[in-house]
Subunit: 259 residues, 2 copies
């Protein structure tokens, strides 16, 4: 590995999240760290960007090898403003998390943590998102530390294939029970959702989204299988949404004049 | 086609958008229409969901073959609350748009219009997003009408492959110049972005994101090529982010104890 790498840290649980503090602590052992994070929880904001409100940037800490900023935007905004305004150039790696809760399976689509990672990837930066399978604010992030550090160092050393970033999920078990790292595909789970209907003091209805995650009967090559069996799952992810296997199946949409 | 199909309409430009009104007009010619849309522009919210604020639902119109509601949430919230609370069951098709501006290439990742479509797809509903390559509020949606209706009817007739939805973009040219429909892959464009730094009256800095879209030198099979050459682009899209071609390239991340 070259000299002290420049590590960009962000998350979606906001500046006060314990998972962020664990990640910062681990990264400071590896290199120079620049943190740009949302000023509050922006969980579930996916790849949203802020268009109608201007962004603000607040300096929290500024030391020789460590800088910390917070922003009123989404995780993707934090990456964009972090790269352009704070850094003015590109870091050697972007890490996001450690998220409080799973971003395995379809959860990636709602995730601000992983959106920041995809945004870093779109700028050509090796980018990795870390999530612990425990939504609690008091979750124990210590068992994950060894692997978070190891994966980060390995990506710094080896890089990532072009256009690829990593979705890393960590089982919520003691360190000695973790069996290692498994390269996986995204499994096919879904959320079974409903709305909790309530009435406010003025008599108007309001709704809270609630749901439970339903695992699919997926194969041995999926992230959910790996996590259930004590492995850390690593899914290589890209930003091409094209379903290539379906390209040949849509001939019926092509009208005669366009052939 | 079976009897009058049940068509769910949403968008991300909000209830006042002219593109939405065009889409509603076209869909009312085909079937029974249920509209659930954001109460304001929620462009750029991607697949975001509302977690910290309860959702509200307001009835705008309720006729035998037409119902219209607005919601304070994102497009994805509109789909979830639309299916669960308004409909209580599933529509025959979900259409989203017509978006003011391109959702071709990487724009899909930021798009609320296409997020609603992906959400519909995740519920097993044939879902199609329509976008016109013109960001203007006064854009002319008329030339697109024939094709929007035709594609919707074809999807109602033929369905879509499992787990697949459609990202349809329409060039901003007169109807007689449109050459037809082309099935494409997502092209590899990027945004070249920067921040406009300003100072508010109290002396504090604030930032506006700005950028220009940079087309990649993509092939004849891409959406950008089709749009530039007078075709309507149709990209089949799915919710699996796995970069399968990279699965074999990440062996260096697997530590010895996990083999």
């Amino acid at each position: 590995m070259k000299k002290r790498p420049l590590i960009f840290v962000t998350n979606d649980d906001g500046i006060q999240a314990p998972g962020l503090r664990t990640l910062i602590g681990l990264m400071r052992k590896i290199g120079k760290v620049i943190v740009v994070v949302p000023d509050r929880s922006r969980s579930g904001t996916a790849h949203g960007i802020t268009i109608n409100v201007p962004l603000r940037l607040e300096t929290i800490a500024r030391e020789p090898d460590y800088e910390e900023y917070c922003c009123n935007g989404t995780p993707v905004d934090c990456v964009k403003i972090g790269f352009k305004v704070v850094l003015g150039n590109h870091p050697d790696i972007l890490v996001s998390g450690i998220n409080h809760g799973s971003n395995a399976s379809i959860n990636i689509i709602y995730s601000g943590t992983m959106a920041a990672v995809l945004e870093g990837c779109m700028s050509g930066i090796p980018s990795v998102g870390f999530s612990l399978m425990n939504y609690g604010w008091n979750a124990d992030f210590n068992p994950s530390g060894k692997y978070v550090k190891q994966i980060t160092e390995s990506v710094l050393e080896n890089g990532l294939p072009e256009g690829i970033c990593l979705n890393v999920n960590i089982p919520d078990i003691p360190e000695e029970q973790i069996l290692g790292v498994k390269i996986c595909r995204q499994s096919e789970g879904t959320w079974q959702e409903d709305f909790d209907e309530r009435v406010d003091p003025t008599g108007r209805k309001y709704y809270w989204l609630k749901g439970i995650f339903i695992k699919a009967g997926d194969g041995l090559d999926t992230d959910e299988w790996a996590l259930e069996h004590g492995y850390i799952s690593v899914v290589p992810v890209h930003t091409d949404f094209t379903a290539r296997h379906a390209l040949e199946k849509l001939g019926y949409l092509v009208t005669p004049q366009s052939r």
